[in-house]
Amino acid sequence: MQVTAMHFKRKAGANLRNEKLQKALEKLQSKFVDGRAVVIAELSDFEGLRDAAAAIRDRVLNNLDGYLQHFEQEATARGAVVHWAETADDVNRIVAEIAAQHGVQRIVKSKSMVTEECGLNDFLESRGLTVLETDLGEYILQLAKEPPSHIVAPVVHKSKEDIADLFEQKHHRPRTTQITELCREAREVLRPGFLAADMGISGGNFIIAETGSVLIVTNEGNGRLSTTLPRVHVAITGIEKVVPTLEDVTTLLRLLPRSATGQSITNYVSVLTGTKGKEDADGPEHFHIVLLDNGRSRLLGTELQPMLRCIRCGACMNHCPVYQNIGGHAYGWVYPGPMGSVLTPAFVGLENALDLPNASTFCGACAVVCPVKIPLPDLLRQLRHEQVKRHLRPWQERAALRLWSWLAQRPAWYALGTRLVVRLLCLFAGSGKRLRHLPGVSGWTNGRDMPAPTGRTFRELYRSGRT
């Protein structure tokens, strides 16, 4: 997918003024934040579970190559073919080759954010293949030719009225805003697609080393259809998604749906292992698993390694007050919100996403809800540190911070400087005690007054004997 993270600030501003979007984003609080709180409360020891989940993920990351090899052995032994993709382009090439090898024309897809990294749909369509997204949200976005704005609820930025308009225009049926009717309509359009497909593409929430299985969690049933009906199944996911055992995965599954959608468990949890056997009624004849690196292995052994624990639940964005107000598209690549503000610079280059690590108040809400305890503010701060080291920040900002740090290390100069600033601010503010404009900090004063200081600094008053 094309990276537009450099336009973060402009797009965020436009989104703040987009009333329809603002209305749509209200869903986040009731649906995701409140919903999560209810099901997290069901757990007797949420913190203990988070620790256990983080430990499982760390165990994997500290021996990633070993677990991946184990996975490949077990998957291969059960008839699957494992492909290693270093880059997004490699994924596209590999999938096109698999399609050619099996004479595929029509593809159905269940939800996968990793394929968004690759721009897989566009690539396959350019090769003359038909690709049908079957996750309802992704299907809507395919019709609208828009990227997802959320990793779990890709269409959260749209209202049901928007979707009604879109369906009327694309399906040529009478407009309805009844959600059940809209779902029925989508189902009627999608079903022939499932039946005609030669290949199903899915993501993978986890891959399990001990059994060589791909595990997906879904709610709509489209995942089951996409992975079992067509004769070829291609699962595409990131190399970091490996988990040692089925038992480990159950620990993570107690956290993933709760954190993601406020469900104790999703409607479907599919553990897909090997190809269709002689006694099996369903299943693919050919099972290919494509594992993507695309920058992930670069994070191993660095301060950013904890980011690879991520299980893509989206809780960090649901609870982020920045995301809640601007939505996902402003972040300018596949992954929005706090996790995206770490992943985007890490995957596409710090210089291509300068705003993202800074677009956080460090309120810490993301770190508190993360089911695998990723210290997101610390990782964002680390990226800011790297921006400073690589001189990627604007000179005005660097100069201001350097001046402040110089003063703060020299108390006498600091005292003089702060006295001056305080008096100047009081002078500018006048009797109103507030500044409506202040050169250099228009970012503040465009939307807020700056309360003026009260007149003298604490240290002046304290020295003069006030108590």
Partner: protein, 244 residues
Amino acid sequence: MRVGLFVTCLVDMMRPSIGFAALRLLKAAGCEVVVPSDQTCCGQPGYNSGDQDAAKALALKLLKEFDGCEYVVLPSGSCAGMIRVHYPALFKDDPALSESFQRLAGRTYELTDFLVNVAKLKAVPGDYSGSLTYHDSCSGLRELGVQAQPRALLAKMPGVQITEMREATTCCGFGGTFSVKFGEISTRMADNKCEHIAATGAGAIVAGDLGCLLNIEGRLRRRGDLNTRVLHIAEVLAGEGECK
């Protein structure tokens, strides 16, 4: 007990009354209070902007200045969090300094946390009367667990009526330099906070961090609300000494 008061740079410049209020509260709790005269800034602006060297220099300065104090107390959850959580992280690779900063972290407290859990303040000297609503500032809340402490102290004041607002624990949008770099987003977050404050009908919004208060006050006034008072928890608890 000998307590070092770090007033913080924002209080020093923008609202000294908060520093004096903290001083009165610590004295009311029976502490011997020292205010090291060379104190400046804890280094958080540099630290959060990616300048670790500047933050380290200021951390070392603060460590030295408060060396003789049994406790270090700050009227700010965010600066207290800097010392308790982030100083040790900054020096984690230096065994000797790491130990010194661990010890400093262990004796550093946000003001209300200290008054409730260490000094066990019995009677609150302030005589504030009226309704107020309390905003939980992010670092104090999530890094230090400051939530019940200010409310417990306010509960000792017979004239105070607390009306909790919706989303009291949601960030007000300040975030230090974020408030200037991303002014539009920050303003929207402050706006949401102002609406929740207004919905309570309380006469004052109270919090434990001056950064948040300046942000909230700035937005309230720009929205045309000239009446809702914006007060630091120390000012409410200590009685509001006018700053002369």
